[in-house]
């Protein structure tokens, strides 16, 4: 009974906030601009709370950076210019999709390398098994390893 009550309380505490956008009001009346604003924010890291974007965070720095994005949009800057502005100050780390370069090549290549490595291992095992005599169900390695 008590547990249920506490669970209900927790749920109630969470409910009213879950539907809210991060800003109290929309930044732009025009939905297209609001969309662009949200997309830009979603691509920028909040550097205080490092695994959140500035669109998710209410850290005061994130609020400032959202303000900066909005201001630059109104000033007619392109998405490219706004991202460059942030990168010039905070480095590539500020972007959630860092560009491919010497520093990040390992990051970008790692998934492909791992999948390929896994495939290679799988293939080798399948090959070796298919070389076993037909009907030989127990997997005694034929004559040791290479």
């Amino acid at each position: 009974m008590m547990k249920r009550f506490i669970a209900l309380l927790l749920l109630l505490a969470y409910l009213p906030t879950s539907g809210w956008a991060i800003d109290q009001q929309l930044a732009f009346d025009d939905p297209a601009w609001q969309n662009r604003y949200e997309e830009l924010n979603a691509g920028l890291r909040c550097l205080v709370c490092q695994n959140q974007t500035i669109a998710d965070s209410n850290a005061s720095l994130a609020v400032d950076l959202r303000g900066q994005v909005k201001e630059m949009m109104i000033a007619g800057k392109t998405d490219e210019e706004i991202l460059d502005y942030m990168v010039a100050r905070y480095g590539n780390f500020v972007r959630f999709q860092p560009p491919v370069n010497n520093e990040t090549i390992f990051l970008w290549a790692a998934p492909a390398v791992m999948v390929l490595g896994g495939l290679l291992v799988a293939l080798t095992i399948v090959r070796r098994r298919s070389n076993l005599p037909v009907g030989d169900e127990d997997e005694t390695p034929a004559g040791g390893d290479a």
Binding site: L47, L61, G91, N92, D145, A146
Partner: protein, 175 residues
């Protein structure tokens, strides 16, 4: 034999990587601003809202710009070190009072002592130009107005003596 050694080696390599990763501080983000000119700014002085000080006023001097706020706990720890640096007269410290209430900042300086040659009030715009993401952060700026070093987090006496002071001395010697 290899069948066991190779996975063991891969495992050992992973352990080594993760262990290295544990020792890294995720807050130590390299600043792209090192070696670049500090952005020009003009900000009001704490307690004298009508007086403005610009970055260019310090052209020809080596200065340490320290971003702080009375709300910042780590700044309190750093404060004693800043006082010692100021007392040594090695470099003028420009305080950037970031996102703070003027009264709180003034009370802080009254009660803890004031290491700053001048304290400027910034609501966040100048901090963005410096790529600040948390207080305290400090920037060493040379005579040409180039940012030559960034220190993230509180400056300790060791960091001052071993890292920053040698750079100050070198920057002062340069013309």
């Amino acid at each position: 034999m290899w069948r066991f050694l190779i996975p063991m080696a891969v495992f050992a390599a992973l352990v080594w990587f993760f262990n290295q990763g544990l020792g890294l501080d995720p807050r130590k983000i390299p600043s792209p601003l090192i070696g670049k000119p500090a952005q020009e700014f003009s900000l009001p002085v704490l307690g004298e809202p009508d007086r403005k000080v610009a970055m260019s006023d310090y052209r020809g001097q080596v200065v340490l710009v320290n971003v702080w706020g009375s709300w910042c706990v780590a700044c309190r720890a750093e404060h004693q070190v800043l006082l010692r640096i100021a007392a040594s007269g090695a470099v003028p410290i420009i305080g950037l009072d970031w996102k703070d209430q003027d009264e709180d900042a003034q009370a802080w300086l009254r009660s803890l002592g004031n290491p700053y040659t001048v304290t400027l009030v910034d609501e966040g715009r100048v901090a963005i130009n410096f790529g600040v993401y948390g207080a305290p952060e400090s920037f060493l700026i040379d005579k040409q107005g180039i940012i030559i070093h960034k220190h993230t987090g509180p400056i300790t006496w060791e960091a001052w003596q071993q890292e920053i002071l040698p750079m100050v001395v070198k920057a002062k010697e340069a013309t």
